[in-house]
């Protein structure tokens, strides 16, 4: 049984690859006039990137709280930063790829799967970071009596 931490770390990428493979095998081709889809996707990607950048500020504001102390001394903070960084870069890469799509031919065999896979990866990574930040938010506001 794989360690749960490994599943958490690699899950979004693996699922993204699985979906990319599935699209490549059985997926529909890109719509002939792709600009609407691409514009919508670009908007979504930009919103995710922006929101994730705000998460950085939120985490910084936790300095000095009990939760941040636990995250640091247990080593889990490294994982959290890794998830956040991956989320930001995949969302950003998705935006770049979508912009590039306006100039490239989206109907090549590789573009659909790559774009879809990257989109799934970025979305799952975003969900992971959001769930974690919300839970941290809940704890940071709990009463922690000094020892």
């Amino acid at each position: 049984m794989m360690k749960r931490l490994t599943i958490e770390k690699r899950g979004p990428l693996i699922i993204g690859l699985v979906f990319a493979f599935a699209w490549w095998r059985i997926g529909p081709p890109f719509p002939t006039d792709a600009s609407d889809v691409l514009s919508a996707a670009l908007t979504l990607g930009a919103i995710l990137t922006g929101f994730l950048a705000t998460s950085k500020a939120f985490l910084l504001s936790l300095n000095g709280t009990q939760v941040m102390g636990d995250l640091r001394s247990s080593g889990y903070l490294n994982d959290l930063v890794f998830y956040l960084a991956t989320a930001i870069w995949t969302a950003f890469a998705f935006c770049i790829l979508t912009i590039a799509a306006f100039f490239l031919d989206v109907h090549t065999t590789w573009f659909g799967p790559a774009w879809f896979g990257l989109g799934i990866w970025a979305s799952l990574q975003f969900v992971l970071v959001t769930v974690l930040t919300l839970r941290i938010l809940r704890h940071a506001h709990g009463a922690t009596p000094p020892r």
Binding site: R4, L5, G69, Y76, I136
Partner: protein
């Protein structure tokens, strides 16, 4: 003076503890203070003796004792600017066996605080160290021989995420909720069988409760108050009570005396640590 011993395990990517201690000793004293669990903690002094590092930690106290005279009421102390009470705790680190020998001071710095101090000292590095108490083998052996369990009792503080969880591969999603407990300070669990009942508790259940409590105890010895097992080696054997917390390796010296300022001198405390370490040397080499 009571002395305990712990095993230090650096996690991947952490600096060697002896290097960190050396770096702290070279930092100016005004930059060494860190706030751990709302209290000021600082490594006051660190010196090398043979291969070991001898350290003295201090912990700030915002309220403390007063001055007592047999013929006068209790009076307070005059504090200068920025002064407050401080409690000292001596520690010895042996890089060869990666063991930390610590003085036990009820008001002083505890093992878990020292651990967090080392983890948090260098803000630019991801230093994570695990500090676990070392146990006496005898109690372990007696526990393994028990076939019939009559009672098991544990009393623990709700646990928060630890480096041990991360090494075991628990996901962050799972551990992040730990410690949210309904605001309880302690959780007490006791399972027992009645007098008339000749059978015993399910050994699987007993062992998993003990392992859970021990896992918490290894992460922070102050968060577990009690792990007690009552059992027998065989149906007709004598019933034995095992206190698993007393299995900690510890030694007490009663020949230390306070000086004129009513503090036990640092040299005397360090000397006691060296004596304890010498006594445990063979055992430590085997861990």
């Amino acid at each position: 003076m009571k002395i305990h011993v712990f095993k230090v395990t650096p996690q991947r990517g952490a600096a060697r503890l002896e290097d960190l201690i050396e770096a702290i000793s070279q930092t100016p004293i005004e930059d060494r203070m860190r706030i751990i669990h709302h209290t000021d903690i600082r490594m006051d002094d660190a010196q090398q003796a043979e291969d070991f590092w001898l350290m003295d930690f201090v912990r700030g106290r915002t309220s403390g004792p007063g001055r007592l005279h047999p013929a006068r009421p209790l009076q307070g102390f005059q504090f200068g600017d920025g002064e407050s009470f401080g409690e000292e705790t001596a520690a010895l680190f042996d890089p060869r066996t990666s063991c930390l020998v610590m003085q036990y001071n009820h008001f002083g710095v505890r093992a878990n605080s020292v651990r967090e101090y080392f983890c948090m000292f260098d803000r630019d590095a991801a230093n994570v160290y695990d500090v676990a108490p070392l146990l006496d083998e005898d109690v372990e052996r007696r526990l393994r021989r028990k076939r019939i369990f009559r009672k098991v009792g544990v009393k623990i503080a709700p646990v928060r995420m630890t480096a041990g969880d991360r090494r075991a591969g628990e996901s962050l999603l799972d551990v992040i909720d730990m410690g949210q407990d309904g605001n309880a300070d302690r959780i007490s669990i006791e399972l027992s069988v009645e007098r008339g009942n000749q059978g015993g508790l399910n050994p699987e259940v007993v062992r998993s409760i003990i392992n859970m409590a021990r896992r918490i105890w290894r992460a922070d010895v102050d968060s577990v108050d009690k792990i007690v097992v009552v059992g027998k080696d065989a149906p007709d054997a004598e019933q034995e009570t095992l206190d698993l917390l007393s299995a900690r390796l510890s030694v007490s010296f009663s020949d230390l005396h306070a000086g004129a300022d009513l503090r036990i001198p640092r040299e005397a405390r360090w000397d006691a640590l060296l004596r304890a370490h010498r006594g445990w040397r063979d055992l430590l080499r085997r861990t």
